[in-house]
Amino acid sequence: MRDVAIIGVKNTKFGEQWDRSFRDLVVEAGVGAVDDAGVVGGKIDSMFVGNMSGGQFVEQEHIGALIADYSGLAKDIHVPSTRVEAACASGGLALRQGIYAVASGMDDIVIAAGAEKMTDVPSAKASSALAAAADREWEGIMGATFPGLYAMIAKMHMHKYGTTSEQLASVAVKNHHNGQHNPIAQYKSPITVESVLKSIMVADPLHIFDCSPITDGASAVVLAPADIAHEFTDTPIYVKATAQASDTIALHDRRDITTLDASVVAGRRAYEMAKMGPKDIQLVEVHDCFTIAEICAIEDLGFAKKGEGGIVTQNGETAIGGRIPVNTSGGLKSCGHPVGATGVKQAIEIVEQLRGEAGKRQVDGAEIGMTHNVGGSGATAVVHIFSRNR
């Protein structure tokens, strides 16, 4: 296996973008990343596009070819382009497939992208499309929604460990605080614990401010073999680990509803591959589709003891400047969550941090960072570790 580096990155703005189409967004991200890397089209060997539900959100399938076409990579040069789907982990998984392609030696220059256009349909339709990432025949039919499934995780976490609504809210407050310094974020206004607790209840105990929003956006990175990365950039960021794990599709079949075993196992595999442990990680982007998800994630990845995710968040240990900064980008909560794009956007935040280009969000001296991307209520987890040093 060859070492792999990220040599170019680009996010579109995240948010409600009624004036722009799905393909506009992906092409902006893709071309931006290629520009950032200083690569020309003819050099690109393959591309992978993470997308969860193009069929439901924009009534478009065959997204790999569509994006190759509109990026000018289909005609004449016929670059192979593959869509990757794993619900909200589609982006992280597209990145992982891109890493495979380069690491294997089959391809040199590879684009890994992710995109979703979610606001072209009414929000009830969007929620229904998202619910398809759970078990439609045995959860959906009973009236389960995505917030409802995570609410049941939260309820049990509160029952077992004494986690409070204030602790859940403190996740949202921190992420909005971080997101105000991120130019791509959908929501840049700070919020308070009180405003979270006063916002309408979606699925008890989750208020609407405990939930990530419906968002349009695209993200792309360019990958290259580490051996030639310096031909393109002075600051390549190296992939130290890529790991993935599966779990039962339905929440009711889990060993422990408050633990996402897919996250635990993907995390463990990533630590083994990088020969590192949680103490080596200086910042992490975790999948905070709901506030409870971030609490479970930091426990599952070893940044907090089981049951203490709420307390450490409330104590400020996961803030920028704290023991382990979590979601410096603002997370899914403040940046927005264009489901297919999120996993790639998380990697871009880590790249910007490790390059020292994160501005007011910068974690001092950051050299090693992690990303954690979850599909469904935890049936897929994808974890990556990145480093400034090879």
């Binding site: 025949e137 039919i141 979606v202």
Partner: protein, 131 residues
């Protein structure tokens, strides 16, 4: 849910019929045709659950899924059946009265309808034992 997709699992939904692996002595609801533990080694048979169980966790849904808008607020829970497996279902009671550990029993209820004139879907929901 489409009619064929519902119809295939109708017996399981109406009568809480799941499966049992004779080799591991594990019970599955929803039914599985392959045992996730011993896989092809297993011997799977149908099994009718008593339906007795308790609430493992729950939520009160205020923003409904498509098609459930006129039911809010409704209680959704994960029920642990006494034979072992857990399932997701609605619990019919006042949202104030539900709690973790509460004992429940199954009832036959309408789950939903395929539009105004379409097929009505029936299945199992749960009620508190003390009712």
């Amino acid at each position: 849910m489409s009619v064929p997709r519902f119809w295939r699992k109708q017996l399981a939904r109406y009568n809480l019929i799941g499966t049992h692996c004779k080799k591991c002595d594990d019970y599955f609801y929803p039914p599985r045709n392959m045992c996730p533990a011993c896989r092809r080694e297993g011997e799977i048979e149908d099994f009718k659950f008593s339906g007795k169980g308790e609430v493992m966790t729950y939520t009160v849904i205020h923003t409904a899924a498509e098609g459930f808008e006129n039911q809010t607020p409704y209680v959704l829970g994960i029920i642990k059946l006494e034979e072992g497996p857990s399932l997701t279902s609605q619990i019919i009671c006042d949202p104030k009265d539900v709690s973790i550990g509460m004992k429940v029993s199954p009832v036959f209820r309408k789950l939903g309808q395929d539009g105004e004139q379409g097929m009505i879907y029936y299945g199992t929901k749960f009620v508190p034992d003390k009712c």
